[in-house]
Amino acid sequence: MNSLVIMLLIYFAGAILVYAANKFSAVLRDVIVVLAGLLPVALFFSIPAFEAFQFRIAGFDLFWDLGSLAYIFEALVVVVGAASLVYAISYMKGKKNLGYFYMNFFLSLGSMTGILMSQDLISFFIFWEIMTWSSYFIVVFNGYKTNKIGLTYIFFSALGAYAMLTAIVMINTQTGSTMWNDFFIAFAGMSSHYQLLISILFIFGFGVKAAMMPLHIWAADAYSHSPMAYTATFSGVLSKMGVYGLALVMIKLALVSNHFVFSQVIAWLGAVTAALATIYALIQKDIRKLLAYSSVAQLGYIITGIAVGTAMSFMAGIYLAVLHGLFKAALFMVAGAVEKQAGTTDMHKLRALIRKMPLTFITAMVAIIALAGIPPLGGFVGKWMLYESLIGSNHYFLVIVIFFSSTAAFLYAYRFLYGIFLGQEEEEFAHVKEAPLMMLIPMLFFTVLLIVTGTFPGIILGPVANAMNHGMGFRGVQWEMSVLTNVYGDSIHLSVISTIVVVVFIVFALFLILKGRKGTRYVTTKDIANSGEPVRPEDNYHFALDFYKPFERAMAPLYRFKMSEIYGNISDGLVSFFQFTRRLYSGNGQTYVYYVLLFIVILLVFSNQLINR
């Protein structure tokens, strides 16, 4: 049987089996979760090449094959999906409706696989929608409070999906085919405004999932309110489906050369998304929300990278996309571990868990370093390529905006680490223990993966370059395991950098640790220099409220701009309009009779128009 279909079947069968098994025994359920999660990983990496699969349904030809770009994202799906599932076993322990949770989890994983292997628009759309509603059902898993969030999510997703559907039917009319490839070929022959319309519709659809301004409004809430085990996949992978679609549309349709202004607009939207989401991330008090906004910001970089459309920026975009999947999954897992162990995710309450959860802290720190783009980890590689490509392709002011958001990202990166792990200890968290093993394993797995990919970005760049050379229409894209070269021919050796950083760090760390080691011992963080006033156990001088107040003051004009308010006004207007339409049904029978007569009279008045036919 076809291996792609088998992978799809594993996920979908896993969904049903898990739901059924949950009725019988929890152990059986967990076993199925792990098996159905890990089996695709094994299958995916053991099969060198996937065969295509083709069949016909409802008068449409469906064609499944894994493209070279999709291959990268599929790797992300199986790996992060499996890790999240393993993590979920511990994380979700003791919660209700687990059968439902895992079912939707598997459905969304399966649908993502489906999206990636769809070579035709119809099955692409079908899987896209399955992904939407399955993820929606997990967003609202946490009950009552998530209701409105879920509705916002589904509303925007539906809007996006329908925009896409419009484009799909238009393509079907124009080309008589629903294959991606036929569409790519036929695109050049379409009229210019038609091209633009279809691109806008597609990008609208993908932009929703990729949380592009101004369609990002759902993202932060949805990411932060679904169970963290799922958010790892949700923010890490699911949002990348939007990126995948954007990549296909932007590059395959050559929008940069065909519609330069339009692609510039998208690039700028990405950059503005990054900047605004970043400054919103750093005033959040909930770590989940912080990470959620950070996800939006990171997606902004990715969108910019793809929209600029040069070989290097595209590479940077995809590289960041993959990397974001890894480190954001790790970070959400950290948030989940903290939530599970300490019972809260509020940074105004959390403090000083570093000694309680050291391994979690290490994961968080490595992931944050990767996120902030600090060398030698992978985020730097992506950012570096992005900057170089933007400068190299004359987007000087774009690079400034991106740089601003990436600098501001240090602020929330620090706040994340400080807010959870550092600061003054609190009696309340004295009992907190390190996360359970099943949660630590995926977290540490990502830690190792991040370190390795940071030093040897070629692991990711290789497949990306392969995809660009063989599927995306770029020519002669070069890559090396650990060397980055920019458009001017300057190169940096990442292994050298890593070596220097690590060696210097170890030397001084050893110096600091070993010097006077016998006399140095640990005291609690209650024992601080506090103008001679001893800190009593019930006091806590942890600094968490209004953490970046100076920044807020300095950036006050930016904070005044709130997309949610604009949308709030629009939705208020719509709802009152709906209220009006509803009032048309006044309840008085005679009014309805009037309507009928009015209808006839109007039609008779306009009957000339009807005669003309």
């Binding site: 006399g519 011992r521 103008s531 001893p534």
Partner: protein, 180 residues
Amino acid sequence: MNDKNSQKIVDVIKNFARKHSLFVLAYGTGCGAIEIPATMTSRYDAERFGIRGAATPRQADVLLITGYLSTKTLKRVIRTYEQMQDPKYVIGFGSCTINGGMYWDSYNTIKLLDMYLPVDIYINGCMPRPEAVIEGFIGLQKLIAAGKAEGAKKYKENLDWYRANQKKVIKNWVMPDYNW
């Protein structure tokens, strides 16, 4: 060169550096605090002796107690002193720290600081002028160079005695233990 000699040389270097780099934590309790700015700024310029202010006890070498100490303040001073790292020195500043000065019959003022903290050197006067302050510092420097400024050691050795004295005047003794 044996260990002892090398140790000696190292000690000399260390003491030289210590002597010329005094980070002062000025505990401005009484009227004496007004003299400190004059001492540090242009006219008397204590910085030329390597004396500069420290912001927190963690960084400080010298605890400068400028004036009378009420029993309430004493607790904070003790805490501050205990948070300083070895080697550390205490300077009693003004007559109040020696015998209570003009507060000699006050019911809640510490009369003799030495009962509670190991004072290395006193600067008398009410108030001591900046010249006197500098003189005091130079005296401390001399003691350091000679390796005789061992107040901290004394405090450690006679901790029980000091504690007993301290607890006599401080009623609500809630403090972490001093054990370095």
